[in-house]
């Protein structure tokens, strides 16, 4: 929903750096996409020059290749392995520490370690990642207990979305209903054209930034061009899930032979869960510091593909790769609906690209949900 004070305007590419400067002046540390180790990652962004201008990429099951594409665009690529998730739900973080002042456990003090979070402005958030953000907002902030660590990061975050115009072959956000047009949680929205951006605000914070920029009126032809590009991005996607809610077909096929077939390929490496923007599993651990003065309690990302994930009283509930893959998919595409009122898959395609053996959630779900036992 566009903010009532928002105007739809045009930001010439040559003035993009001003957006970054205004954000910095407003107290934000900018985070944006950059090329790092042959992939696009989100990191602190000091200047527009560091954006991945002219870059595009190719993705297919188990493959990701970045290349110079000979254009001037900043955002002419589909997502790399990570975007918003690690900024809010960090791979590892200290939750609290305890100190044991005397011998024999005679006194124990606890101190919470809530992060001091600088306000971040994330430039370039995509529709799929914003849909995943919606899920994590619910999971960490609205379902019962509020998570103070997630909240500390989230409340200071400004989001600048970019509608996708270059889906990868692995993308299927159109089929899950989550993209390529951003719909949730952003303050400012950009549509990239050859010579600049259509910009609009969706929050008071967004309006405050937009009004400071030196913008031109957006012409009808530019709006049409922007709209066409997003529609074509949706039309170009070839992958898809059989339906948005697969709870019942998955439950009906818990013993489908295809689980075992996938298990024979799956390495249980957990890459899929690490790159998935909606996976939230984590474990907790306590690490005493070397000088013995205190012990720090951490949480870190975990994966349902680990043996230990389901360990209890000397037994592992999911002791085979087939059971673990089934847990992952029946949760993501099935029980997620009961938990969050929507699927846990936002169609970003990352689990397909970053799976070393190219296991493809859309293909596997199709086979399993078809119920056809002779695969």
């Amino acid at each position: 929903m566009t903010n009532k004070n928002s105007k739809v305007e045009f930001l010439p590419r040559s003035h993009f750096q001003e957006l970054i400067e205004h954000l910095q002046q407003a107290g934000y540390t900018c985070v944006g996409p950059q090329v790092h180790e042959h992939a696009i990652h989100y990191a602190e962004l000091a200047h527009a020059d560091f954006l991945p201008q002219g870059m595009s990429e190719e993705q297919s099951p188990g493959q990701y290749r970045l290349h110079e594409a000979g254009h001037d665009r900043y955002f002419a690529w589909a997502n790399g392995p990570q975007a918003l998730k690690p900024l809010l739900f960090t791979p590892r973080e200290a939750l609290w520490q305890s100190s044991n002042n005397c011998e024999d456990n005679a006194s124990l003090c606890f101190k919470e370690l809530i992060p001091e979070q600088r306000p971040l402005a994330v430039i370039g958030a995509r529709a799929c990642d914003l849909a995943a953000l919606y899920i994590h907002d619910k999971h960490f902030l609205q379902h019962g207990y509020r998570d103070p660590y997630y909240l500390a990061r989230r409340k200071n975050m400004l989001l600048i979305a970019v509608n996708c115009t270059h889906p990868a072959d692995t993308c299927f956000c159109a089929s899950t209903g989550d993209g390529p047009r951003a719909t949730y949680g952003y303050d400012l929205l950009l549509n990239e054209l050859d010579d600049g951006f259509i910009i609009e605000s969706h929050s008071e914070k967004g309006v405050a930034i937009q009004t400071q920029l030196n913008l031109q009126a957006a012409e009808a032809s530019q709006l049409e061009q922007a709209n066409d590009a997003v529609e074509q991005a949706a039309a170009r996607q070839t992958r898809g899930l059989p339906a948005q809610n697969l709870s019942q077909p998955l439950l009906d096929n818990l013993h489908h032979p295809h689980w075992e077939e996938v298990a024979q390929r799956c390495l249980s490496c957990g890459n899929c869960t690490a790159v998935c923007p909606t996976c939230f599993c984590h474990s907790e651990l306590d690490e005493p510091v070397l000088d013995g003065s205190h012990s720090v309690h951490y949480r870190q990302w975990d994966s349902c593909f680990c043996q230990k994930h389901s360990y209890i009283h000397g037994m592992t509930i999911r002791d085979t790769a087939g059971l673990r893959y089934r847990q992952w998919m029946t949760h993501k595409l099935g029980s997620w609906h009961e938990q969050f009122g929507r699927s846990g898959c936002v169609g970003c395609g990352r689990c397909i690209t970053w799976c070393p053996v190219g296991i493809d959630i859309t293909e596997e779900a199709k086979v399993i949900c078809s119920g056809d036992q002779h695969d």
């Binding site: 024999d104 456990n105 207990y145 306590d286 509930i317 029946t330």
Partner: protein
């Protein structure tokens, strides 16, 4: 806003060795205000923290009306519980909780109650049996059935003897394997079921123990005409956070830590007994 992850200091007031690997810690928050404000329902659990080692979910066995002490009966089976078993009175540990949903004690009022447990100790139901025994007049006929593998595993004889003395209360014990002096049944708990006394239309069944055992009992109860909605069970899975965030305890769409650990059978029946969940 309070931090749901943060433990608070508690003191071990007393330590009781119940059996070779089962012990009870009687705990009290060091801060008197925390102790007096603390309240819980039978069937709920706390996260106990041992300095430098980690946290573990343990159900609460004391009576909710006891303002002075919180009891946890713990089996020394893993890294944290083994280390915890070495603690002495006066030592400090961390507690956060209580978590989850307990037994349906309000629904159970005025009804007959059948409590069936298997395995060692079965702390989650001890609290609810204690609760009912102290408020005996609020409940109908009370049946307590406990099965153990070997008669040596049977603890809390005095409690069972005490419960046996309560009005309108049946206590039935079975050991798969009994020593010659074991005075009770040798065999399965289900062998004892024809001795139960309850009105199938006016009963609450509470189960705790290995899932295989609970499924056998559920099947029997359903065959007797007890409604699925009147059967409740306490479940266990790996737990790290206890607040529905870490994902470890999921059972289908349910988070055992916050939607359970006590569930109505109706809510979990679709996956109960499915390997891998």
């Amino acid at each position: 806003m309070t931090n749901p992850y943060l433990p608070y200091e508690a003191t071990i007031i007393e330590r009781i060795q119940e059996s070779p690997n089962l012990f009870t810690l009687r705990l009290c928050f060091t801060d008197p205000k925390l102790q007096s404000d603390y309240c819980f329902e039978p069937g709920q659990f706390n996260m106990l923290y041992l300095y430098g080692v980690g946290e573990i979910p343990i159900s609460i066995v004391s009576d909710p009306k006891d303002e002075h002490i919180i009891d946890h009966t713990i089996r020394a089976v893993g890294r944290v519980t083994n280390a915890m078993s070495n603690l002495k009175p006066g030592a400090r540990i961390g507690i956060r909780g209580p978590y989850g949903r307990g037994w349906p004690i309000l629904e159970a009022e005025q009804r007959d109650v059948v409590v069936v447990t298997g395995g060692l100790g079965c702390a989650p139901v001890v609290s609810v049996i204690n609760y009912m025994s102290h408020r005996r007049e609020r409940f109908g006929k009370l049946n307590i059935v406990q099965g153990v593998k070997h008669s040596n595993d049977f603890i809390w004889r005095d409690r069972y003897d005490h419960w046996r003395e309560l009005p309108d209360t049946k206590v039935l014990l079975a050991a798969d394997d009994g020593e010659p002096i074991w005075p009770w049944h040798v065999g399965r708990v289900t062998d004892l079921f024809d001795q139960l006394e309850f009105n199938k239309d006016h009963v609450i069944v509470m189960l705790c123990g290995p899932e295989g055992m609970m499924r056998v009992v559920i099947k029997h109860m359903l065959e007797q005409g007890v409604a699925a909605k009147d059967i409740w069970l306490s479940m266990e899975r790996n737990m790290q956070c206890a607040v529905g965030h870490c994902g470890h305890c999921q059972f289908g769409a349910k988070f055992i830590c916050k939607d359970g650990p006590v569930f109505c059978y109706e809510d979990v029946k679709s996956l109960l007994g499915q390997r891998g969940f």
